[in-house]
């Protein structure tokens, strides 16, 4: 189960970080980045506590 939590946590962190670079490149709107970051935050805090 821990590896599942790790994957989910990493995906959450990725959703917080990566879309910002897409905003910088003009590929997505700022609002999409903000929504993805919020979803990533939920994923991170749901999963990270099981991995540490």
């Amino acid at each position: 189960m821990i590896w599942v939590a790790r994957v989910v946590a990493c995906a959450g962190l990725g959703l917080v970080l990566v879309p910002a670079f897409f905003v910088f490149s003009g590929l997505i709107a700022w609002e999409t980045h903000a929504a993805l970051a919020l979803f990533g935050t939920v994923l991170w805090f749901s999963a990270a506590r099981w991995t540490m």
Partner: protein, 458 residues
């Protein structure tokens, strides 16, 4: 129960040196340092550098050198003593200062903790107030600027105090989970606003950094910062922890003294990446300093959550420690009552935006005030035996109050108060003054005390 007995009782659990089975590996210290130094203050310090008109070259150069000096201070000042004695700051200092002087130190430390926690409550309040369209405090605001600010700070303070009363183990655990996310929030926020500043490729960053972010022009009413300000601030902003030896309490669990170098994870992620990122956000927000709005501008609701979490995870353990320290001064008060009282003081202080807006000066003052006692530990451990003087003199002679340590502390601060330089630079001459004072006073004390001077030089 006497003050000494109460102090000892609070620290009873840590009385013995750390046992071999509780020694921690390097991974623990990476998380500890990163978790502690990617925090709420980072949202304020980066913008304040922008407000003080530092240039991009001075900022990056000052942060690289200053953070390196901070890492070396942890590695060469704190860690070697920590792994040899494996005692926390309280018991290490008690052997040198005697319990009565340690009591005074504890109270001063607690008050500093209260103000630091107050700044963090102010930081969190700027995010909590966003949905209520609260008027944010400005850079030059000293007093509460609206009723809504007072109400929001009061609510945040009440919640933080409530959790501190319940104990802080879970909150400390939470900050360990939060730091990778918080670092991602800092970086993502900054990257997302780069286009607004006119950066269309990473190759253009340095040009825009000089022209629109760290322009070298201070905001109205702010002093001009140079390379030296940034370098000394980066080095000394945690002076209480390294040169002041507070992190003996953490590094006593280290397997090897070289674990002190792992402070680089806190310094270069928190005090470099996060400060640069929050500076970029401040410039994109046209000089806005309040952390809540600038974080929201970078990454939306996640940014506001990050500011609340960052302020909360820093304020809670700080307030908890302040409550523990103040408990010694309030006989017959239970810990929860003392923590509530400390929370009330802290929350009241937080209502004054000056605490947050003058954070650079406060952090420098905090480090300077506690630094001489760290020097006392350093000199007592390394220098006295080599000079034929007795270490741990107060403990060995049953003294309640070490006057050499007390005079070193007060004398150093008194001389520093009259030195003609800004507070950010005082730590360096202060260190040499404190070493000189302590060695001199110990020599006088031990010369007068029969059996004081050790005959064999170790």
């Amino acid at each position: 129960m006497s003050l000494t007995a109460k102090l000892d009782a609070i620290n009873e659990f840590d009385r013995q040196p750390v046992s071999a089975d509780r020694i921690q590996g390097s991974g623990t210290f990476v998380a500890l340092f990163a978790g502690e130094h990617i925090a709420g203050t980072e949202f304020v310090i980066g913008p304040l550098f922008v407000a003080h008109g530092v240039t991009a070259t001075d900022l990056f150069g000052g942060l690289i050198v200053g953070n390196l000096l901070a890492v070396l201070s942890w590695a060469f000042f704190v860690a070697p003593i920590a792994v040899r004695t494996r005692l926390n700051l309280y018991w290490q200092l008690r052997k040198i200062t005697g319990p009565q002087l340690l009591f005074v130190y504890n109270i001063v430390n607690a008050l500093m903790f209260c103000f630091l926690a107050g700044a963090m409550i102010s930081v969190a309040a700027t995010a909590v107030g966003l949905p209520f369209d609260m008027t944010m405090p400005g850079l030059n605001d000293r007093y509460p600027n609206s009723v809504s600010w007072v109400i929001v700070v009061g609510l945040v303070g009440a919640v933080v105090t409530g959790f501190a009363v319940l104990g802080f183990d879970r909150i400390t655990g939470f900050s360990k989970v939060a730091w990778p996310w918080m670092l991602a929030v800092f970086v993502a926020s900054a990257v997302a606003v780069l286009q607004q500043l006119g950066v269309s490729s990473f190759g253009e960053f340095w040009l825009v950094a000089n022209e629109r972010i760290w322009t070298g022009v201070p905001l109205a009413g702010q002093s001009k910062f140079t390379f030296w300000h940034v370098m000394f601030f980066a080095w000394f902003c945690n002076m209480a922890m390294h040169i002041g030896m507070a992190d003996l309490t953490i590094l006593r669990y280290a397997r090897h003294w070289t674990h002190g170098f792992l402070s680089a994870f806190g310094m270069y992620l928190g005090h470099f990446v996060a400060w640069v990122a929050s500076g970029i956000l401040c410039a994109a927000a046209l000089g806005e300093i309040a952390p809540g709005p600038i974080a929201y501008m970078g990454i939306g609701v996640t940014g506001a959550i990050a500011v609340v979490v960052a302020g909360w995870t820093t304020a809670n353990p700080t307030l908890y420690r302040a409550g523990l320290a103040l408990q010694t001064a309030t006989p017959n008060w239970k810990r929860w009552k003392v923590t509530v009282a400390a929370g009330a003081v802290t929350t009241t202080a937080a209502m004054f935006p000056a605490l947050m807006m003058q954070l650079l000066d406060f952090v420098a003052l905090y480090g300077l005030i506690l630094m001489p006692m760290g020097v006392v530990i350093f000199a007592d451990f390394w220098l006295l035996p080599r000079m034929g003087l007795q270490s741990h003199f107060a403990e060995l002679h049953g003294l309640q109050f070490s006057w050499p340590a007390a005079l070193t502390w007060t004398g150093t601060l008194a001389v520093c108060a009259f030195l003609p330089m800004e507070i950010f630079f005082l730590g360096l001459p202060g260190w040499f003054l404190a070493v000189g004072f302590y060695v001199l006073f110990c020599y006088i004390q031990q010369l007068r005390k029969p059996g004081g001077i050790v005959q064999e030089v170790r």
